[in-house]
Symmetry: C2
Subunit: 112 residues, 2 copies
């Protein structure tokens, strides 16, 4: 999978509230499928599918322990998303710089 396809999958996966909630839960530590499903009023297979979407997107990793499949976050994919967005940091930084400049002008005694 190309890095563009990887980003496609990661962004698309994060575009669902249940999947973002699963990521939020996993940020606190690894958990198995049933534990991840518990907060949701939704069938277990539905959650299992959401987890598969996150896994295919590379956002989470899975292991095996007896009949459990514990999930944990995969830092790299999440960082790839952060990297993409931070590439546009100057877009919103520009607003703050404009504000700072305005404050500087307002603070200075008016000699203009």
């Amino acid at each position: 999978m190309s890095s563009s396809e990887q980003l496609d999958a990661a962004f698309a996966a994060l575009g669902h509230p249940v999947r973002r909630a699963i990521i939020a839960r996993l940020a606190k530590g690894e958990a198995n499928v049933s534990a991840l499903a518990a907060p949701f009023d939704m069938s277990l297979p539905a959650i299992s599918k959401h987890i598969q979407v996150l896994e295919k997107a590379g956002l989470i990793k899975r292991s095996k322990s007896a009949q459990f499949r514990p999930c944990s976050l995969n830092a790299e994919a999440i960082q790839a998303v952060a990297d993409w967005t931070s590439q546009y940091r100057h877009i919103w930084d520009a607003r703050f710089e404009a504000m700072d400049a305005a404050i500087m002008r307002a603070g200075r005694p008016h000699n203009d």
Copy 2:
């Protein structure tokens, strides 16, 4: 639209390479639909719809000038995405901190 729904829409919108390319183009300055469509081997209606997806997600803003509809980036929505991801910064920062610690130990004369 709730802030969760806004994030849903923004992430989902960014989960398509054409739409990310449009964002990249708009980062260089505003452009109308035909100009945005030019680099792609795709019909104009298809691009028009991608632009509508970006607009509904709040990622871009549009104005009117004669028969043109110039598009420009909306900093706030892009920042909302960046804010969400940066909330998990500690996940990948942890890796760098571990690396830094390892380098510190390696750099120090071995008294262990």
